[in-house]
Symmetry: C2
Subunit: 415 residues, 2 copies
């Protein structure tokens, strides 16, 4: 075990009191659960808690890894959290290991939401460039950005002017990332608000897949659109029409389950049935609503589907020009709540990495041997024991308006 | 908040060094994660950790509740862990609250596996009676026992003589529980090894549903059979043929997802589609294999399906007369590993209770307002946004031998 990764985690990981601390649903403004426990528990107890919370006895220990100096220097200079780990797998006799290095970037917006839109977008590009450079310097093979990364998450406002941030798949943000993908020989997943000009200016919530040669491999549109809390996204775009594609890249088979899709086990399943080895979940979600669900759903998906999951959530509190209500009877207000970051990886063996900061921009990197996916399929046999025929039949009945649930009533119920 | 429930938890909850502590996959033999953190963290940090680990900011605080003296006296006299909590829901204007009191019992076997089978079974009955009496004294409405509760979990041995423990649905164990169900006006879920005499002595892994008048309402047979670790259950019985029934009882709509079925999100889903408000997961699982997965899967199911989950796992290490190997290249041995107990409840709002001991017999009780299920459906809308049509179509294709996954290959893949 190398100590540098651990150090990297710590040196950038001091709890930030931050402007947001009064509004994030937490009591003491801690930086991450892992760091809070690390600082509060004696080493033996910490090890035991970690065994259960990070899943370190089902899987192997997740080890911090060494990153090259230029990556660490960028993290210090631009003040973003940088952490790096490694998931291991068994050595196989008939297959070489397939180790890939994967990165996730979380960030707050760069300018107030009152700034001119063009300036806001360019400032985010400028902010992201050194973090992407760090990923490049660290030799990341596949990099995923957060949901709608080019803009504030303005869907809480229900104002249509934010639609201006939408871009076609070959728009400004894709051009920006294509250069970097080529430069660093890196696959980049770029989740944006998409403007589909060929279909009458339809908007979608879309992930653009950029190959390691800078080419656009394809896109995936968010399948499940929330109607909860301030997530008024159904005001802006409709359910995606791209199915559940798995993208075969130079570094493995990957898929993208965008944000609210993580609450739908069938969505996770479908990417699994199509052969995904890593599924990314670029998100934007806030503390009061979802923080305790955040690690549960990703880890469950990784376990149930025998693949890796990379979970990305934006950070910070975004203040909008015009106040809005939240449908909870409370007074109008101008922010969406605190996006709690906490980006992390989950593995098919039930282990997971610690999370990035709840407050700071960050890059989390993990090495993962994709062979682990098939090893877990062979070990647990979930695909083979799943009896999909049963569920095909049940769902075919369920989707009909005259569906009758299978209920056995106690005949003595009303005695 | 009443303090008695908390006290109950504590007074029976001292960490047991126990005979099993060297063989349970843990380092320091702690009694439960919740108690370990409670003893190790300062109150403010404990509160924050609880917020994330027990989901106390998505849901409401899970409060300890007061239990009557006779229940507590039985717990002291017979030395079993007793804990009790309450999940709350919003008051509704058009519906009365539907509070039910639910109990889960975990236990080790009562005699060595070398004792005569009849004695072993009777000794378990004797051991369980005061725990069921305590549930009765506490006013429990629905009680669930652990998987194959009448016998040691002998499937690791692959010896057929253990089949003798199998009983028809109207057998000895059902008769034993029918009396108690009637006496305490309690629904009891009794998971047994079933002998189906009418179908040529077929064995099943079955939950018998006993109504609060002592009548048998019906049965459900385990849908998914493991082939992992020492779980050689596929040697003994086949995949269940009872679908995904939901039992409408005097106290709500309940279903049973037996053991390994918890690894299958579709199994959880099917009980949800059929209208379950509480799904029980009677299990037998050991530390090395599954402990970090244990809270993840149940909580994910509760969140994704907007119902309560009651998770039951047996406790202790069972030593068998004849050694067996585990297919891991290691020497033969005579035990299955440590069944780590840790029975607990999960709620649809992402909250959960602390768990029972990892070492001791126990009864965990929770009050739950079943109105919370619909409240969460209204809040999150997972059923409405699930797009089941997509998955019906996908699964119909997947189950065909000529299924082709939806894969988009980078055209520059081999350049």
């Amino acid at each position: 075990m190398e100590s540098d990764g651990e150090e990297i985690g710590r040196e950038n990981g001091k709890a930030q009191s931050s402007d947001n601390s009064s509004n994030d649903g937490s009591i003491c403004g801690f930086d991450s659960l892992h760091r809070l426990l690390h600082a509060s528990l004696n080493p033996q107890v910490f090890q035991e808690v970690n065994r259960l919370i990070l899943g370190l006895n089902c899987g192997r220990a997740v080890e911090p890894i060494y990153l090259p100096e230029p990556a660490k220097a960028l993290s210090s200079k631009h003040d973003f959290d940088l952490q790096a780990f490694c998931f291991n797998a068994d050595k196989e006799l008939l297959r070489e290991s397939r180790m890939v290095r994967v990165g996730l970037i979380q960030n707050s917006i760069a300018l107030p939401t009152t700034a001119p839109f063009g300036d806001q977008k360019r400032a985010i590009f400028q902010k992201l460039r050194p973090i992407i450079d760090a990923a490049g310097a660290a030799g990341v093979n596949i990099l995923c950005l957060q949901e709608a990364w080019t803009m504030p998450f303005a869907f809480c406002t229900r104002e249509k002017r934010w639609c201006e941030f939408a871009e076609p798949v070959d728009g400004e943000s894709t051009l920006f990332l294509q250069d970097l993908a080529k430069k660093y020989n890196m696959v980049i997943i770029s989740p944006i608000l998409e403007r589909d000009v060929k279909h009458g200016e339809t908007l979608w919530n879309t992930a653009v897949l950029i190959g390691n040669h800078g080419n656009v491999i394809g896109k995936h549109r968010k399948n499940h659109i929330p109607r909860v809390g301030d997530f008024n996204e159904s005001t802006y775009y409709m359910e995606g029409n791209t199915g559940h594609p798995v993208f075969e890249t130079a570094y493995g088979k990957i898929a993208v389950n965008i944000c609210y899709g993580r609450h739908h086990p069938l969505n996770w399943l479908a990417f699994g049935l199509n052969g995904a080895e890593i599924v990314f979940n670029p998100s934007a979600t806030v503390g009061e609503l979802s923080e305790p669900m955040w690690p549960i759903e990703a880890r469950n998906a990784a376990i149930a589907n025998s693949y890796f999951v990379g979970s990305v959530n934006r950070v910070g509190t975004e203040i909008f020009p015009n106040p809005f209500t939240s449908g909870d009877g409370k007074p109008q207000h101008a922010d969406f709540g605190h996006f709690y970051g906490s980006s992390h990886f989950s593995a098919p063996d039930a282990s997971c990495t610690p999370s990035l900061s709840r407050y700071k921009d960050g890059l989390i990197i993990s090495d993962m041997d994709l062979n682990l996916c098939r090893q877990l399929k062979d070990k647990w046999g979930f695909r083979m024991t799943a009896r999909y025929e049963l569920y095909t039949e049940l769902l075919a009945k369920y989707v009909k308006p005259d569906f009758e649930p299978q209920v056995i009533s106690d005949p003595l119920l009303h005695k």
